[in-house]
Amino acid sequence: MGFKHSIYWLSKATAFSAPQNAGRLWIKSLYRLSRTAYRGARHSAPVESTRRIHMGIRSPLRFGLPGGSPTVCSTAVNIELMVALVIALALFFDFTNGFHDTANAMATPIATGALRPRVAVGIAAVLNLVGAFLSTTVANTISGGLINEGPSGVLITPTLIFAGLLGAILWNLVTWVLGLPSSSSHALFGGLIGAAIVGAGFASLNLTVLLSKIVLPAVLAPIVAGLVSFLATRIAYATTKKRQRDGFRVGQIFTSSLVSLAHGTNDAQKTMGVITLTLIAGGLQPANSSPQFWVILVCALAIAMGTYTGGWRIIKTLGHGITDIEPAQGFAAEAATAATILASTHLGFALSTTQVASGSVIGTGIGRKGASVRWRTAGRIALGWVITIPAAAAVGALAALVAHFGWWGILFDAVVATLIFVAIFLISRRSRVTAHDLAHANPAHFVRPKPRGNKAKLAAAAATAAAAATRAAPAKGVEP
């Protein structure tokens, strides 16, 4: 019950935030998925049973009934507190979403040296900020139909959203430490599934729809993007001469900016939807209304700040870890990513940005002769994708289970989550990856293995340098 309703209303809220753009297919599919589940739920479960689900908030938040929350007065503070907590958490999720997904757009231009790392994330941040505003300025006239949806009314529990967000954030942070590009949408969805399973049981999960809307697209996205990227790379290398290929650096700036803008218009919407939904559920905003301006503003700022922080680890994996990227490859890969994302959002088959971007990088690695794809890294990334939903779901479920114990449970959740976040941050300090580490373009590493930086690196590089020197010595001896 909880799952069906919460996901239903969540997706509905996200859908109403920008349905005029055909590019909301991802949200639409989420909506369809939940709608199917929701229809089943309305007939099967009585409303009373859900009152037991969310003990965190004693008064049921009810839609569709006049005077929906009769017992608000005694627990009004609690609801407001809970709403504030969920908003804070949603913004934090938005932040992690930002730095997690910078790599999709900016990994390849950074890797080829088309843009300096700081400049690249700066452009991405601005475009994400602009994108977040672009897509909701049109969304003011949206009806959405959040109210009057059935005679029994629908219950939505901020507690479940809280638990789901915890799962999503935690998984985003774990994959960030491991440097794995994984879909933030999948993490959010997984977290909510987990929280809902605790609320409504496994029966609430519509596995067929899950498979067709999330699992299969996740398999197909990298294949399509990889194919496009492979062909594009072949074309780029067949058309141009070797010395001309630096010209692609300029093109990269534009294609990666396009990907970044597309990301901005899509991803900030998710958080806006979550926050708006929570506000409506808490009775702080009338149902049927679009996101308030401050919601749009804080979401845009959160995702832009996250983007500017730069998920350097993921940028490193995508730009250097999978394959070594040259400017022509970078251009081909970004063009493939942009084309695939735009095609998927406008022609009717939702694909995840992260998976498309990763597929493009792999495709361009296969496409250039002499380049090699590190399949081990690619395999790790794929494994990360497989685990994303179950892992986020597990955390979400655990958090929801604890949250069932009322305010102490929620407090416990919050404290434990904070401790884990701090621990992850401390772990990340052990092996720092900064903008400075990525400041040198790929070819520089391989053409001139000249050690730079501190003495430890110098010593480590000495062995390879010596080996290279012995090999190069005879040739050099002849020249003068």
Partner: protein
């Protein structure tokens, strides 16, 4: 279970868009990029221009404000 027809359309659209942009930009680089003799510079610039237009269409697709204009076209 899965809408294979729309998947096919997306694949073809992505192929056309992605490869189209790369073909145009590559030709531009070939004719008007660095290390060229300059004899077909005009052709190269034309390729760059068309490529820029294609990217502009992409930008307009991203920005919902422009979507109605495309629906009319």
């Amino acid at each position: 279970m899965i809408e294979w027809s729309s998947f096919l359309v997306v694949t073809l659209g992505a192929l056309a868009g992605g490869c189209g942009v790369v073909v145009l930009f590559s030709l531009g680089v070939r004719f008007a990029g660095p290390e060229t003799d300059g004899s077909r510079r005009g052709l190269g610039i034309a390729c760059f221009t068309v490529c820029a237009l294609v990217v502009a269409v992409g930008v307009c697709l991203v920005i919902p404000y422009f979507a109605p204009f495309f629906a009319r076209l």
